[in-house]
Symmetry: C2
Subunit: 237 residues, 2 copies
Amino acid sequence: MSLITTVGVDADDTLWHCESLFRLTHQRFVQLLADFGDEERINSQLAAAEKRNLRVYGYGAKGFTLSMIETALDLTDGAVSTRVIREILAVGREMLTEPVEPLPGVEKALGELSKRYRLILITKGDLLHQEQKLAASGLGDLFAAVEIVSEKDAGTYRRVFERYGTGAEQGLMAGNSMRSDILPALEAGAWGALIPYPLVWAHEAAEAPQNHPRYVELASIAELPAFVDHVSKPLLP
Amino acid sequence: MSLITTVGVDADDTLWHCESLFRLTHQRFVQLLADFGDEERINSQLAAAEKRNLRVYGYGAKGFTLSMIETALDLTDGAVSTRVIREILAVGREMLTEPVEPLPGVEKALGELSKRYRLILITKGDLLHQEQKLAASGLGDLFAAVEIVSEKDAGTYRRVFERYGTGAEQGLMAGNSMRSDILPALEAGAWGALIPYPLVWAHEAAEAPQNHPRYVELASIAELPAFVDHVSKPLLP
């Protein structure tokens, strides 16, 4: 019996760049409002608005755009020009239409995994935008299923590995976020493989588990197929 | 053998009010911009922006809010006050946090259906917002599955009835939108039961099929359980 039947994979910053685009947008936002505050103040107000609005807007570029507009109004006490509001709409729109390029090694790794395991994309964010990014990436055919979810908690992983696989105990989740991809997957009973990305959104940061038997940190996604094979087929006689 | 095993149900304007809230928001938008144009002009520009942005923003209140802001900037050539922009953000937010009340007869009808069929919620819109509305409605436990999709086409219905039921041929879709709930479900091979709502978003309007053997228009959702029973178990000896 194979120990792992189903491999869940995160999308943003695991298969393609995302946080770097958010950071770039942050920088453009800071430039647009440079007359009204320094970088630190602008960034901290925007981060506070994002966090405050997460409960209502959820994850993704549309809610982020609305938070940028709100922050521009708050920060300038309404003195921001409509030209700047228009620019914010434009940068938000660019985030939604930015071309998508798979990160190095992604296609090869997913290609190998898809031959031996049920491969499931599990991601947060705007529904339509995530579907469009997947379509643009050209990776869609490698996945047996795609789950775009509003939150990644242990219940999410239990449900997804149950629906598309053979339960969380025979599932492995790979992604760049300790908080969303790894800890809740481990809690659900699945394996967790961290694939670090140079940038981590503050909201997603969390401590690594200590000596957890089902946790591993890999250097890159290129190592994932061999790791899953290793876990899945123990070298016993 | 039962002819129908699985019943798909639309959410907005089938289970609870939605378009009426959009109309109310349209009215408030018209009032906010009354200095810059008459109702007809404002509404038609907003409708054009919604349509133009659908491809990028998808369905739901967040994209609608961004379209309202864009329209306010366009319509006033940038002369709109930031007070009005702030009001638009607030009305958009209210749409996302509005209390949800099931329409009359919904709980009873779904309660009956859920005993005899696999009941699936199939809806478009913002992922988090639709989940929150379902939770607030108290109807969540009646559904065997919930599918929040970015578009409702024949492929969507084939996939959902395949995944959660026994295929589209043994599925029935009920909802208020001819364009999204009925025509593509019929195309997929399922039955379609239109449950009219007094208001229909222009984007969702479409002609009724003529003499289609698997189409019915019901007076209200209260008639749905008896109709499905009737289709499902023909009165033959």
